[in-house]
């Protein structure tokens, strides 16, 4: 007799719900950890994950995946790609590893929340593989980044960023802690696995992998595509729970969770991924624009998935689509301007050829963002670099914890969306950011963003040096222009006349 096929015993592996009697059910599954929303145990047993894997297959597949990723790295180590790559690309690697490695490890905790507290047995089992996957993603990315620590102290931030109060790290923690660390099991499955992983990690891991392959960084391309194969599996925990929620009259709650998680994910990507794709990636290696990637992965695929499951597109969909032409340009300008406050070297990405590309992809770019860059370029060509760096603080949103931006110059629309709640004035970068706060003010009300901390006197001395010390950034780590301003020469009068 041959071995049994997985399908013959799979259902028994996930037939594990029982009726507790030594401890009441609502103590075994506290609502705040479980989030079953009054839907009885039996209903959760209908959870059916579309992607099935049993333990033996899991360890075999994952062993093979790791063998692939680690051997590509080993084989390419001698080629010294990192020493010869465009500095803009190196900045992508530093920003990515700092913002992603440790949060991936932290996602293990979100998975463990489901593994322990979901009332759906299939969810509990899948989340065990999710815990393992996120352990993998944390470890393998730390390992890959670690070999570069000898190159620059900025690489240390692959491990250090999430332990620091650097503003971008703080924004990332606020986001990840909100979506995956402080929610009940069912909310984690919707907000982390469905909203964030189904839509956005595809962007970061497949979109960026395409750029990496173009840029010749096969180690990184291989690594992040390999990670994405795990994400594609464990992201499928949200869908079945969503179905159960809708079938049991909880559509509105599900919709609200998705709408909050989607908007928050978008804002994080606008500051992290947008600048990488449209400015840091060398022009010749850009597979598509950030907006085109968003249209493909988010608007094309994710929108269909939510409507197929019976949800509506978020109420702010028009605003989201409008913002695809705007937000990340503002974030990029802000990050480059406040470049000493990040752990990588932002690439300006505004040579004449870059700008032609930006104008083509984002018609009107030169008349808006371009005008601001013209001013920066003028200050640089005329020997006033001190005017191209931070003198004041930006307004920071109390939801996204990133700067409040809009279109400058001839398209001026920069606007604060304020809210007074319990006597405190909060600032938001958009109507949806303010709306997220209003859905659950108690989650957010006592949190201080970077500017609030500054005003509260936490940052001493209250100037750039105090800010950098508070953020844990010292010379050797702080960012500067990725190309050491060499691109500015293209705008020097003599050069411009010659070209």
């Amino acid at each position: 007799m041959p071995l049994l096929d997985r399908s013959e015993y799979y259902d028994l592996i996930r037939t594990t719900n029982w009726t507790p009697s030594y401890v009441p059910e609502d103590e075994l599954y506290p609502e705040e950890m479980s989030g079953s929303r009054g839907i009885p145990m039996e209903k959760w047993e209908t959870f059916d994950e579309p992607y099935k894997v049993a333990y033996g297959e899991y360890v075999a597949n994952q062993r093979e995946k790791d063998a692939g990723a680690y051997s590509v790295k080993a084989a390419l180590e001698r080629s010294n790609f990192v020493d010869n790559a465009d500095p803009g690309w190196i900045s992508i690697l530093k920003a990515h590893y700092g913002a992603i490695s440790v949060p991936e490890y932290a996602a293990m905790t979100g998975e463990a929340r489901m593994a322990r507290f979901s009332k759906a047995p299939g969810n509990r089992n899948m989340a065990v593989f999710g815990m393992m996957d996120e352990t993998r993603h944390g470890q393998i990315q730390l390992y890959f980044a670690h070999e570069h620590t000898r190159r620059s102290r900025q690489w240390d931030w692959a491990h250090k960023a999430m332990h620091a109060n650097e503003w971008g790290a703080l924004a990332a923690r606020h986001f990840f802690d909100d979506m995956m660390m402080t929610r009940d099991a069912i909310s984690v499955s919707l907000m982390l696995t469905f909203a964030f992983e189904t839509g956005f990690t595809n962007m970061q891991f497949l979109g960026l992998a395409a750029d990496a392959a173009q840029a010749g960084d096969h180690t990184f391309a291989n690594l992040i595509s390999s990670i994405q194969t795990d994400e594609a599996r464990h992201a499928q925990q949200g869908g079945p729970n969503l179905k159960i929620l809708i079938e049991n009259g909880k559509k509105d709650e599900a919709q609200q969770m998705i709408d909050v998680a989607f908007w928050r994910s978008w804002k994080l990507f606008s500051v992290l991924t947008g600048p990488m794709m449209d400015y840091y990636t060398p022009l010749e290696s850009r597979e598509q624009s950030f907006k085109e990637f968003m249209q493909e992965w988010i608007i094309g695929q994710f929108e269909r998935q939510i409507t197929d499951l019976g949800l509506d597109t978020p109420w702010y969909w028009d605003e989201f689509i409008r913002a695809l032409d705007e937000t990340h340009h503002g974030m990029h300008l802000g990050v480059w301007y406040w470049r000493p406050t990040v752990w990588w070297n932002p690439a300006a990405g505004v040579t004449p050829e870059d700008r032609d590309w930006l104008e083509e992809k984002y018609p009107g770019w030169n008349d808006t963002w371009g005008n601001v860059w013209d001013l920066i370029i003028e200050n640089l060509t005329e020997g006033r670099p001190e005017l191209t760096g931070p003198a004041t603080l930006p307004m920071i949103c109390n939801m996204s914890n990133i700067p409040i931006v809009g279109t400058p110059s001839n398209g001026w629309n920069v606007k604060d969306y304020p809210l007074v709640h319990n006597g405190r004035l909060y600032h938001f970068g958009s109507e949806p950011d303010r709306w997220c706060f209003e859905q659950d003010p108690e989650r957010y009300q006592g949190h201080l963003n970077f500017i609030d901390r500054f005003l509260a006197g936490w940052i001493q001395p209250p100037d750039l040096s105090g800010g950098l010390a508070y953020m844990g950034l010292a010379p050797g780590e702080i960012g500067d222009d990725a190309h050491n301003y060499e691109w500015v020469a293209r705008y020097m009068p003599a050069q411009a006349a010659a070209s």
């Binding site: 028994l12 333990y55 033996g56 905790t109 065990v128 393998i140 332990h163």
Partner: protein, 330 residues
Amino acid sequence: MTDAPEVLKPLRTWSHLAGRRRRPTEYEVVSTNLHYRQDNPDSPWELDPDIHMNKWYRQYCNDSPLRHEDWDAFRDPDQLVYRTYNILQDGQETYVRSVLEQFSDREHDSGLSPEWVAVLASHYTPARYLFHTLQMASSYLSQMAPASTISNCTTFQTADSLRWLTHTAYRTVELSRTHPGAGFGEKERQLWEQDPAWQGFRELMEKALVAWDWAEAFTAVNLVAKPAIEGAVIAGLAAAGRAEDDLLLALLADSQMRDAERHRRWASALVGMALETEGNKAVLDEWVAGWQPLADNAVDAYCSGLPGGDKIAEETKTAAAAFRTQAGLD
């Protein structure tokens, strides 16, 4: 005049590991100091400090009666990382598959005595539920432990528990094919919920699952429940099986016990580390004293229906106590 600030030089490793003499191992590079929630004791998570989950982590992780000034110093004695875990367990699973195939080829199940088949139905296949409670309890430790190096051990332990559950489900289906009238695949939930043999373990694990303090949960699960379960339900049952020519059960149990022994190695190391801090021994001893009667009753209830059960029960309880003594507890 101000001194120009020092420019930080590149290091050969993460700054938090750079002060040591030794070059860090792969294990240390990818496993240490990853729980950023331990950085700010007032607000583990970067949200309002008073939300439920911030209170939960302050109360059940940071304010645990088991104290140590640097939990991050914990190291897994096996130094397992994700990559090596899969290599290890893929090897074990390849072995298990070949065992299952060989015993299936020689129609092992049809040679079992009716008496032993009845024992498998009453004392073996319902363990699917018990192993699942270990899986759930281990995943709780992963989200609550104060150091990533501890969480990693419990994450592998979570996966190992699912492994045991999976073996049991597999065998349940096989046995149901050969012995269709014996209740395999049908009666396990009822037995788990009602049969006196299982009620002790069910009570123990339901209560362990709501031991919210991370260190008490560790004590209940790793120092008390697991030695009892592994001694009686895995090794003990397998010993009874050997006497009944159920070598297949014995071989599966041996492979599972390799996982269990690894779990005991890190659990002992963690106890050893905890005992460095004054006052912790009393905390752990008191917890053990509270949980052990539940485990002893569970072992007695389970073994009373096993052939040679008295001896298995005594051996299990003695070995569990010896494990704790060797770890440095009373």
